[in-house]
Symmetry: C2
Subunit: 223 residues, 2 copies
Amino acid sequence: AVSFKGLSKTYKMDRVEVPALKGVSGSIAKAATTFITGPSGSGKSTLLNLLGLLDRPTDGEMEILGEDVTKLTDKQAADFRAQHIGFVFQSFNLIPVLSLRENVEFPLLNRKMSWASRKTRALEYLEAVGLGDFVDRRPGEISGGQRQRVAIARALVSEPTLLIADEPTANLDTKTSREIVALMDRIKVELNTSVVICTHDTDLITPGSAIINIVDGQTAGEY
Amino acid sequence: AVSFKGLSKTYKMDRVEVPALKGVSGSIAKAATTFITGPSGSGKSTLLNLLGLLDRPTDGEMEILGEDVTKLTDKQAADFRAQHIGFVFQSFNLIPVLSLRENVEFPLLNRKMSWASRKTRALEYLEAVGLGDFVDRRPGEISGGQRQRVAIARALVSEPTLLIADEPTANLDTKTSREIVALMDRIKVELNTSVVICTHDTDLITPGSAIINIVDGQTAGEY
Ligand SMILES: Nc1ncnc2c1ncn2[C@@H]1O[C@H](COP(=O)(O)OP(=O)(O)OP(=O)(O)O)[C@@H](O)[C@H]1O
Ligand SMILES: Nc1ncnc2c1ncn2[C@@H]1O[C@H](COP(=O)(O)OP(=O)(O)OP(=O)(O)O)[C@@H](O)[C@H]1O
Ligand SMILES: [Mg+2]
Ligand SMILES: [Mg+2]
């Protein structure tokens, strides 16, 4: 579903340049789950932001779902992302003034759907992550792990072709973490979604899965 | 160091009341590490906020370092907290416009210390969490796990008598997580600090430690 070659990202700051990603190559298989692992600060979120078209590489090529994305304009990239990609952010990025239901409906606003069907689908996904009783609360009125699950529901609600999850279970207990990974697995099987999960919890990695290990901005063999 | 009896917290919202904590009793031993565990949404952060004097209970009694804290005014509670307590927030709460060093110096601003010694100590603790090279960056210019470590350094810098850490390793890889817990252990031994760590990662729990398990707002036996 995704292939990338020589992908680099250097953050340019006032006085110094930070080479966060130094020429990584790899691929994400269609309708399969790929795990991204590596130490804190190694470049995982940077890679995920490039795969999710949230940022542009400094160098390198990337093809997503057959499209050469390095050639897209900002507007085309934004449209492509809205169409095909669901992203769970490491810091959730929920909108504080909207209810959980409104937060999860958000990605559906630019789709040809009735108001009623958007609401139904948002409730369905909040239910799927165990938050059916909290739909009218705001992000500030729930727990850390509950906020994490709202971010997950929001990424799934548009039933994306490519799901990118940056440490989606960091704030969850073991039982809930397994339920979340099982949910993403079901989505993969039922909707042919390609799933990318970045995690520090090696117990979550299903045996036989593809693993991309990032150390100091480069791909490295597995531990 | 801390003992509490019948501690309750009900969040009052427009139309509904949420009994997040329903009469919990227990204690935190001096110069020892106590772990707080339990499922997502069970009431752990709520309990930690009460122990850290960040919030008031709806009912119950609590004594911290010999002081009956339920009798304190808001101003007295804030002073007590600044004097004795260090808190690592589940969502970090860093100040985006300040550098990492300024963020970590912040708790020292109301202390009788020279500008130079505050700076030295902030750098010392940033070094201790592996961020010595990043001191002039801002929170938005580092990784998620690096932000988590800044929050930890900031909680330790005032060398508190009571350290409360709400899921301090959620965004850290295994190796870095162990270094952080070892650092908190050293602080406990060298400074007689009483340490409370809330975590979903049961591998971090040192054998023989005290564990308070919270399920659905009440203390429950260990798994
Ligand atoms: N400000 C609030 N208003 C209303 N309800 C709240 C508020 N904050 C938390 N809650 C609710 O209180 C319960 C306990 O929340 P708490 O944050 O203590 O859970 P937790 O054990 O820390 O969970 P997690 O492991 O997900 O961080 C949850 O059901 C949550 O939805
Ligand atoms: N906006 C930025 N400006 C400058 N440097 C940055 C910026 N964002 C990240 N970095 C740096 O780039 C490197 C990689 O960051 P990244 O967020 O990709 O790490 P990560 O692997 O996701 O880490 P973690 O596991 O802690 O989340 C880090 O050293 C970080 O400090
Ligand atoms: Mg990251
Ligand atoms: Mg919590």
